[in-house]
C-alpha cells in the first residue's frame, strides 16, 4: 500500500512511531483488528479507532491530514500528533489502562470522562441520563425475569426488583432448586442476564433507524449521477449491511430472552453466554449511534447539508470484519462496508459530527 502523504510528513518530523496503516485497518479480518470507535472530541481524532496492535495499543486514523488510506499511531504518542482536548487526554489515559478493549469498555471510559464534565454540561447530563436509563432497564429486565421464574404475568414485573432481588426471593430459591445451583449463583446469573437483555434491547432500538437511514441514503444516491453518488451509495450499503448483521446477531438473543427460565439455565451452563453474544452485537453497531444522530441533524436541512452528512458518515463508518461472514452472501455484504482507499475529503473535520460525538458518546 502506498504510504499516505501524512505518514511521510510525520516521518520527516521524526516521529518514527507513526506508520502507514495496513489493509487490515480498512478491510479487517476480526473486530480486534478493526478496533473500537474512539469517542474523541479532538477533530484530528474524530472517529479514529483504537485497537491492540503488534506494538501495543494504537489509534487507526483515516483520512489523516487530508490523505487517503489509514495511518497508525501509538496511543501513547497521540499527543505528539495533535493536541488532544481535556476530554481526550483523560479518555486516552483511561483507555491505556483498560485490560481489554471492547465498545462497552470504551463507552464506560467515555462516560466517566463525560461525567467529570470534561465534554461539557450537555454530555454530563446525557451521561447521567444514560446511566439512569440503563440501570432502570436492567432493573426492569430483572423484575421481568423474576416474575417469569415465579410464574406470574409480566405485568407484575413492575414491582421494584431492588426490594425483591435477593437470594431468598421465592423465585430465585425455586429456580436454584430446579437448576441445581446455589441461590446466590442464580441471582448473580439472573442479574447478568437482565443487564445483557437491557443492552440487547437498547442496541435493537438502533436497527430501525439504521434501516431508515440506509433506505434514505439509497434514495438520495439514486437521484445523483454515479460519480456524485459514490459516498452516499457507500454509506447506504454499509448501513444496510450493518443492520443485517446486527439483526441476525440480536434475533437469537431476543428469542432466548423471551424464555427466561431456559435462558437462565443456559447462562448458568455457559458463562460466556449471553455476554459475548451481546458484545458481538455491540461491536457490529459500534459508532453508528453518533453517525445516525449526525444524519438526523442534517435531515431536511437541504440537499447540501444532507450530502455533507452522507460524506461525513461515509468517511467515518467503521468496516465490518471478515470473521462475521458465514456464507458467500455474508462475505459480499460485509465487503459493502470496506473501502481500501478513501478519497481525501473534509468529512472527518465535520463539526456537527464532532458535536454529536461529544454528546452521544455517553
Amino acid at each position: 500500500m502506498a504510504m499516505p502523504a501524512f505518514a511521510r510528513q510525520i516521518e520527516a518530523a521524526k516521529l518514527p512511531a507513526t506508520r502507514p496503516g495496513s489493509d487490515a485497518a480498512l478491510s479487517p479480518s476480526t473486530f480486534r483488528e478493526r478496533g473500537v470507535v474512539l469517542p474523541a472530541t479532538t477533530p484530528a481524532f474524530a472517529f479514529a479507532r483504537v485497537r491492540d496492535g503488534a506494538q501495543g495499543r494504537e489509534l487507526v486514523l483515516r483520512n489523516a491530514g487530508g490523505s487517503g488510506g489509514a495511518v497508525l499511531i501509538p496511543l501513547a504518542a497521540a499527543a505528539d500528533y495533535a493536541r488532544p482536548t481535556l476530554h481526550d487526554r483523560t479518555l486516552f489515559a483511561d483507555i491505556a489502562c483498560l485490560p481489554r478493549l471492547s465498545p462497552a469498555h470504551v463507552a464506560a471510559v467515555a462516560r466517566a470522562a463525560a461525567r467529570a464534565g470534561l465534554a461539557g454540561r450537555a454530555a454530563l447530563a446525557a451521561a447521567g441520563m444514560a446511566a439512569e436509563a440503563e440501570a432502570k432497564a436492567a432493573s426492569g429486565a430483572l423484575g421481568a425475569i423474576l416474575a417469569a421464574l415465579a410464574g406470574r404475568p409480566s405485568a407484575e414485573a413492575e414491582e421494584d426488583p431492588k426490594c425483591v432481588a435477593t437470594s431468598s426471593h421465592p423465585a430465585i430459591t425455586a429456580a436454584a432448586a430446579a437448576l441445581g445451583h446455589p441461590p446466590e449463583t442464580v441471582l448473580a446469573a439472573a442479574a447478568e442476564l437482565a443487564a445483557a437483555a437491557a443492552l440487547a434491547d437498547r442496541l435493537a432500538h438502533l436497527l430501525p433507524e439504521l434501516r431508515v437511514f440506509a433506505t434514505t441514503a439509497g434514495d438520495a444516491a439514486a437521484r445523483l449521477t454515479d460519480a456524485q453518488a459514490k459516498e452516499t451509495r457507500f454509506a447506504a450499503a454499509a448501513a444496510a449491511a450493518t443492520a443485517g448483521f446486527a439483526a441476525t446477531a440480536l434475533a437469537g438473543l431476543t428469542d432466548a430472552f423471551a424464555a427466561p427460565e431456559r435462558a437462565l439455565a443456559r447462562a448458568l451452563a455457559d458463562q460466556s453466554w449471553p455476554g459475548e453474544a451481546v458484545a458481538r452485537a455491540g461491536w457490529i453497531l459500534d459508532g453508528w449511534q453518533a453517525l445516525i444522530a449526525r444524519w438526523h441533524d442534517a435531515e431536511g436541512q437541504g440537499q447540501g447539508a444532507e450530502q455533507r452528512a452522507f460524506r461525513a458518515i461515509a468517511a467515518a463508518l467503521p468496516p465490518l470484519p471478515a470473521e462475521l461472514a458465514c456464507t458467500e452472501a455474508d462475505n459480499a455484504a460485509l465487503r459493502a462496508t470496506w473501502r481500501s482507499e478513501i478519497a481525501a475529503q473534509p468529512g472527518l473535520n465535520d463539526q456537527a459530527l464532532l458535536e454529536r460525538l461529544r454528546v452521544a458518546a455517553p
Partner: protein, 439 residues
C-alpha cells in the same frame, strides 16, 4: 374593514427599530402576522430592513408560498434593497417586484391563477415540488410578458416604482433571466442558503446551467452568472466554471457580459455581507457559519476574480475591510456581553439562578463562536488584536477558576466548566493549567 395597514411615520419608525433588535422567534411571529394580511400596505416596509436576515433564519421563518414569491424564487439572489441598487447594476431592486408581480399576474389566465393558488395553499417556500409546479405555470408566461413590455413599453396608467425607462430595462432583464427559471429555481431550492453545498455534487448542474444561460443570451448569462456567484462562491470555483462556459459560447457576448457580472458582484459585495447588529441576533453556531461563509466568499473572490483592475481591487478591499470591521465589533461584544458578563453572574451566584446547566452550554457556544470568528478572520489578514481579546478573556476565566469548586457541581460553576471555556478560547494546554495537576 380594510385589510390594508396604515401606520403613522413615528409608529413605523419605532416598530422598525424594535424589529431590528428582535430575536428570530419574535421576527417569525411578526412576519407570520404580516404574511396573513390580505393587503400588506406599509406593513411590508416594516420587514424590508430585516429581509436579508430571513435567509439566515430558515429554521425559524418558513414563508408561505405565494404567486409573487414563486415568481421571484429563481432570481432571489439578484434582488437587492432599492437604496443599494445603482443604474447599470445587474442586480434588480426589490422595489420592482410588486409591479412585476402585478404584470405577471395579468399574463396568467384566471383559471391557471386559481389552480396555482390552490396548489400553493398552505405550502411554504421550502416545498420545492409546489414551487416548481406553480413556477412551471408562471415563469414562461411572465418571461414572455416582461420581454414584450420591455420592447413595447409598460401599460399607461401603471404606478411606476421608478423611471419608465429603468423599469422597461429591468423587466427585459427579468424576462431574459426567467427563461432559465425552472432549472435555476430547482438548483436554488436544492441548495438553500445557510448550508454550503458540496462542490462536487453541484458542479455538473452549475456547468449545465451556465452553458444553457450562455446559449440563451449574454443578458441571461450575466444575471444567471451573478446569481450563481452570490450563492455558490462559498462552495467552489464558480467563476472558473463561468469563464469556461463563456469561452465556449458562439459569440463573444457572454465573455463581455461575464466581466460586467464580476464587476457587479464585487461592487455590491459589501452590501451582501452580514452586518454586526443583525449577526448578533442570530444563534451563535449560525453566527459562526455566517462569518466563515462570508470569509470563504471574499477569499475565493480574491483568488478567482483577480485584482489586476484597480476598481475591482478597491471593491474587494472594501469587502475585506468591512468583514474585518464586523469581526472587530462582534467578537469583543460577544466576549464581553455574551460570555464574560453572564459567566461572572453565574460564578457569583448559582447555576440555577441563571438558567441552569443549559445556559452554560449557551456560554460555551458564545466562546466557540468568538474563537471560530477570530480563526476565520485570520484568513483575511492579521487580527492580533482579536487574538489578544481571546487570550484576555481566557485569562479572566482562569482567574475565576481559582475560587471555583473542583469539578462540575450540579448547582455551581465548577473549575472543569471554566477550564472547558479556557480550552475553547485558548486551547487545551491553557485549560490543563486551569485544572492543575489533577488532570
Amino acid at each position: 374593514m380594510s385589510g390594508c395597514v396604515r401606520l403613522d411615520r413615528r409608529t413605523l419608525a419605532d416598530l422598525r427599530q424594535r424589529l431590528a433588535r428582535a430575536r428570530p422567534e419574535a421576527i417569525r411571529d411578526v412576519v407570520a402576522l404580516i404574511d396573513r394580511l390580505p393587503e400588506r400596505g406599509e406593513a411590508d416596509a416594516l420587514i424590508a430592513p430585516i429581509r436579508p436576515r430571513f435567509a439566515l433564519m430558515r429554521n425559524v421563518i418558513r414563508r408561505p408560498a405565494s404567486f409573487g414569491r414563486v415568481l421571484a424564487h429563481p432570481i432571489e439572489e439578484l434582488l437587492v434593497p432599492p437604496d443599494a441598487w445603482r443604474r447599470g447594476s445587474l442586480s434588480l431592486p426589490r422595489s420592482v417586484m410588486p409591479t412585476a408581480i402585478a404584470l405577471a399576474a395579468e399574463a396568467v389566465p384566471d383559471e391557471t391563477r386559481h389552480a396555482i393558488a390552490a396548489r400553493l395553499d398552505k405550502a411554504t417556500m421550502d416545498d420545492a415540488a409546489a414551487v416548481q409546479a406553480a413556477g412551471a405555470a408562471i415563469w414562461p408566461l411572465a418571461a414572455a410578458r416582461f420581454t414584450t413590455l420591455a420592447a413595447e413599453g409598460v401599460p399607461p396608467g401603471l404606478a411606476l416604482p421608478m423611471r419608465a425607462a429603468d423599469l422597461r430595462g429591468l423587466l427585459g432583464a427579468l424576462g431574459e433571466t426567467l427563461r432559465l427559471a425552472a432549472p435555476l429555481a430547482a438548483l436554488m431550492s436544492g441548495t438553500p442558503r445557510g448550508a454550503v453545498p458540496v462542490w462536487e455534487q453541484i458542479e455538473p448542474r452549475l456547468r449545465d446551467l451556465a452553458a444553457m444561460a450562455a446559449d440563451v443570451s449574454g443578458e441571461c448569462f450575466a444575471r444567471t452568472g451573478l446569481a450563481l456567484m452570490r450563492r455558490f462562491m462559498v462552495a467552489g470555483p464558480v467563476v472558473g466554471l463561468l469563464r469556461e462556459a463563456a469561452s465556449r459560447a458562439p459569440s463573444g457576448e457572454a465573455e463581455r457580459k461575464l466581466g460586467a457580472a464580476l464587476d457587479t458582484f464585487l461592487t455590491e459585495l459589501p452590501a451582501q455581507l452580514p452586518d454586526a447588529a443583525a449577526l448578533a441576533l442570530l444563534p451563535h453556531p449560525v453566527q459562526q457559519s455566517v462569518v466563515a461563509d462570508a470569509v470563504a466568499t471574499v477569499e475565493r473572490a480574491a483568488g478567482e476574480i483577480g485584482t489586476a483592475q484597480g476598481e475591482r481591487r478597491d471593491n474587494l478591499r472594501e469587502g475585506q475591510a468591512q468583514l474585518a470591521a464586523l469581526l472587530r465589533r462582534r467578537v469583543p461584544e460577544c466576549l464581553s456581553a455574551e460570555l464574560l458578563a453572564p459567566l461572572a453572574r453565574m460564578h457569583a451566584t448559582s447555576l440555577d439562578e441563571h438558567g441552569g446547566p443549559a445556559s452554560l452550554e449557551g456560554i460555551e457556544a458564545a466562546a466557540r463562536a468568538a474563537a471560530a470568528m477570530v480563526n476565520a478572520g485570520r484568513r483575511l489578514g492579521p487580527v492580533d488584536d482579536l487574538g489578544l481579546a481571546l487570550r484576555r478573556a481566557a485569562d479572566t476565566i482562569a482567574a475565576l477558576a481559582a475560587s471555583a469548586p473542583q469539578g462540575a457541581p450540579a448547582d455551581r460553576l465548577g473549575r472543569t466548566d471554566l477550564a472547558r471555556l479556557v480550552e475553547i478560547l485558548a486551547g487545551p494546554d491553557a485549560a490543563a493549567r486551569v485544572l492543575g495537576p489533577a488532570l
